[in-house]
């Protein structure tokens, strides 16, 4: 079967996020697999997850889901009579989990709403389903207003603003470069996440790090919202340790022929214009999609298993993957 196509199909559902889609794809793989032993099954699952990762431009969140499911499969205590029974059981477990996981955003929202006081001004970044859920929930009981960053290069902040305005929440889109200007008016920062890593740090749409640094310097709380399937066993020490980093990001263009400019200054001006035109697409190509926010910049991580300090995340990851 084509696992990438399955993944794409699962992702069409608005509620399904990449890690869950990855889990569902692996569940399908499990159901159709002809593996007769545990070893074969795990091998097939690993190959499936590798193929998913290769197809995706940003493998981080896929990876989190795949690792969770594969670790679960290898550790699942079973007393099934036959291997096909076990596979059926695993499929059932995976589907049950995804069904449960869809309620997590609600749970996180309920946790986070207690931390939003009446009349708050909230800054959020880009578009995140769990942040939307939280803001809409908070809107029912509290007066809130929201600044949302435009979040270039994808510009998803506009989507957030449209949805919030439609729900009757006062909302303004601000430039990514205006975050520092706006921060004094902000009471708290709320961001979603692509993954939460073992250090307790956060991987999220690029620009989150800027916001976190500015929030820290003006003593504003910075909260991350993350469903527990986004906990990812990764320990990046810098931005360049992320799996999404590649040599193209931040690369310098090859130098323009210098002697041409020096030799004929008048003609150089004319010829330079077409070659040095910088388009938005071209900028985006050399820029990262996600960045890594250090744990010391994060006040709390809200997750379906409770509100954790960044250090608490590692305790859960160690529980799952260590030993």
């Amino acid at each position: 079967m084509n696992i990438w196509a399955t993944y794409q199909r699962k992702l069409e559902d608005e509620q399904i996020s990449p890690p869950l889609a990855a889990i569902l794809s692996l569940v399908d793989l499990c159901a159709t697999s002809t593996a007769g032993t545990m070893f074969e099954l795990v091998k097939a699952l690993n190959e499936g997850s590798d193929s998913l990762k290769q197809h995706s431009p940003n493998p981080i969140s896929i990876n989190a889901g795949c690792e969770l499911f594969i670790a679960f499969v290898t550790l699942f205590p079973h007393d099934s009579a036959s291997f096909s029974d076990l596979k059926m059981e695993l499929v059932k477990q995976g589907e049950t989990y995804v069904r449960q996981a869809l309620t997590y955003r609600r749970k996180i929202g309920e946790l986070a709403v207690d931390f939003i006081k009446d009349d708050s001004v909230i800054l959020t970044h880009s578009y995140s389903r769990v942040v939307m859920e939280t803001l809409l929930l908070a809107h029912r009981s509290k007066r809130i207003s929201v600044f949302v960053t435009e979040a270039r290069p994808r510009g998803l902040g506009v989507k957030t603003a449209q949805a919030l305005t439609a729900a009757g929440i006062p909302c303004t889109v601000i430039l990514d470069s205006a975050v520092a200007y706006a921060m004094d008016k902000v009471d708290l920062v709320l961001v979603g996440s692509e993954a939460v890593v073992e250090s307790g740090g956060l991987i999220n749409a690029v620009g989150s790090l800027n916001i976190a640094i500015i929030a820290k310097s003006s003593h504003k709380p910075f909260y991350a919202l993350a469903e527990s399937y986004k906990f990812h066993r990764l320990f990046p020490l810098s931005q360049y340790d992320l799996p999404s980093h590649n040599p193209r990001i931040l690369s310098f263009p090859p130098p323009i022929e210098q002697d041409n400019i020096l030799g004929h200054p008048s003609s150089a001006v004319g010829s330079e214009v077409p070659s040095s035109r910088i388009t938005q697409e071209e900028i985006a190509k050399n820029n990262p999609d996600v960045d890594y926010t250090r744990p010391d910049l994060i006040s709390l991580v809200f997750s379906d298993i409770g509100s954790l300090t960044p250090g608490g995340v590692s305790a859960y990851l160690v529980g799952m993957f260590a030993g």
Binding site: F72, P77, A101, S307, L308
Partner: protein
Amino acid sequence: MASEVSNTPTQRAVENLAWKLRRRQIVGSRATALETLLVLRHVISKSRFSNMEQLVTIIRGVGRRLVEAQPKEHSVGNTVRKVLHHIREEYHTATRGSAAASYSGFSISKFVLLGQPRKNTPLPKAESKGTLKENDPDDPDSFARSLKPVLMEAIQDVLDELETVYDNVSKNAQNHIHSDEIILTLGMSKTVEAFLISAAHHRNYTVMVLETAPSYGGRDMAQALSAAGISTFLVPDSSLYGLMSRVNKVILGAHAILANGGMFAITGSLLAATAAHAHSTPVVVCAGQFKLTPLWNLYHEYGALDFGDPSQVLGFEEGSLVDKVDVVNPFYDYVQPNLIDAFITNDGDHPPSSIYRLIKETYDDEDNEL
């Protein structure tokens, strides 16, 4: 028939304590915790229940009544939560025999929550405790009768913990205070007093005690310490910052420790902690674990603090002024977690960042709101 705390002596005990709390006849976290525990013991021993839910409802009802009587004494609620946690634990061990289904109930969400399954899961014991029967129609009291002895034991454990709290906090005092150090403290905290006196058995050191206006608890503290033979200086609050450069360690007491690692403590603590922070002097807090409170005070809400008697600040002898000014006398400060280096508790030393974990272990999440 369930939630009848209406049998008069029990009801009276609860109301009695509620009024004492309301009138501030009982103050201080340990005293209120002890009283609450005694009332809970009374309630449990006298009340009738035939299943777990009824018991929990009864205790919660009492807890709510007491917490509403004095919401600023956090240890009342904490004690109720702790008792509920212990009761559930006892109940689960008593019914383990019939419900050994944890093995087959393994799922991905449990995997995330609890980590890897134990390799050597102890086999369910064959001897099932048939004595514990809920909702027995023939004998509705049988559940209570068989469970009560273990519950009493559980409460006794909590009581023992409260009674030995000073000893256990000060157990390792000599490891925290070194010879010839200068320690700064303030206010009158029994825990800190016991801690300092215990360290004085092994070390020679100097204590500076701030007077701690307007309650002047520091004066009592200085007296108690010098009576125990410690070289003690009583200093005015205003000299705090000037002295800080000579101080090796600040030791504070707490009123309540919050889930984010911050704390409520006597006024002046925030000032001392901030001054210590500026001089990079370590700030250590001595407190029993009954002060752990599942509460986050992230916005430092003004009303979260308790207010003291304004006459301590501006008495009626200043008659002409009294109606011209508003006098507030906040009794506690909220000290943020980043200003605190460690909590020394009766069960080990903990950094502020792991307090929320302790709280998760000590109480059940469902009880955070009684």
